[in-house]
């Protein structure tokens, strides 16, 4: 893993921070466990506060729609199409975290 023992800060972004974003966070937790990444800090943000919170995050996970609304942010943005598909989450997180 290219994480070098540092804690990865992941921000799950959705419209209000309590529906799909929460779902993303739970799926990401499961995915990280599968990938063997334990040093991760997961937070949920609504689209309104996401830009500010993105400043301190290493990675953002969200939907395609909201990624467009989010615009350009510092961390890498991973977009998830099927929120309940753990395989998609695992593959996209693996790709993102190995490159980070």
């Amino acid at each position: 893993m290219g994480v070098k023992g540092a804690v990865v800060k992941i921000l799950a972004v959705c419209g209000m921070g309590l529906g799909s974003g929460l779902l993303l966070r739970m799926q990401a937790e499961k995915a990280l466990r599968q990938l063997g990444i334990v040093d991760a800090d997961l937070e949920v943000a609504d689209i309104g506060s996401a830009r500010a919170m993105a400043q301190t995050a290493d990675l953002i996970i969200t939907s395609n729609e909201l990624a467009e609304q989010l615009g350009k942010v510092k961390p890498r943005v991973v977009t998830i199409s099927n929120f309940v598909d753990l395989k998609e989450m695992v593959e996209k997180l693996r790709a993102a975290l190995v490159q980070t």
Binding site: M16, L23, N64, Q69, N82
Partner: protein
């Protein structure tokens, strides 16, 4: 959307105002609520309109396009009501587990009666409890 709100009202979970809030949310933020192929998760912010945490389940006889690039058309609308940001976490986790398996998801999307849906959920909870026990002993 309205049907999923009506179901929440009928279940004593929300007041009718919550339905309007859910519709306003999707109008404002777009079709991102279509979280998986054929599945929309409708919800609004916690408010006075939420009486207790709950979910509603509406299978549409005619699939509806929400304008989502990958996941349209929608067959299942799950209405989510949360009085705060944490009390519905378990319900969402169960929902995610329930829909993660493709064949179970297909069964649920094709379900014609509440009984079919309930049967699939009961079946999931039974097998899920078993796998939890297995992974817990590893």
């Amino acid at each position: 959307m309205r049907a999923s709100g009506d179901a929440l009202v009928a279940g004593g979970i929300t007041t009718p105002a919550y339905t309007d809030q859910m519709i306003a949310t999707v109008e404002q933020l777009g079709p991102y609520i279509v979280i998986a192929p054929g599945i929309a998760l409708a919800h609004a912010r916690p408010s006075d309109a939420v009486l207790r945490p709950g979910l509603s389940w509406v299978t549409l006889a005619q699939p509806v396009r929400f304008g989502h690039k990958d996941n349209d058309p929608v067959t299942l609308v799950v209405g989510l009501a949360a009085p705060d940001s944490s009390s519905h976490v378990q319900a969402l986790a169960t929902l995610a587990g329930l829909l993660d398996d493709r064949s179970r998801r297909d069964t649920l999307l094709r379900a014609k009666t509440p009984r079919d849906v309930l049967a699939a959920i009961v079946e999931y909870e039974r097998t899920h409890a078993a796998t939890e026990a297995v992974s817990g002993s590893e």
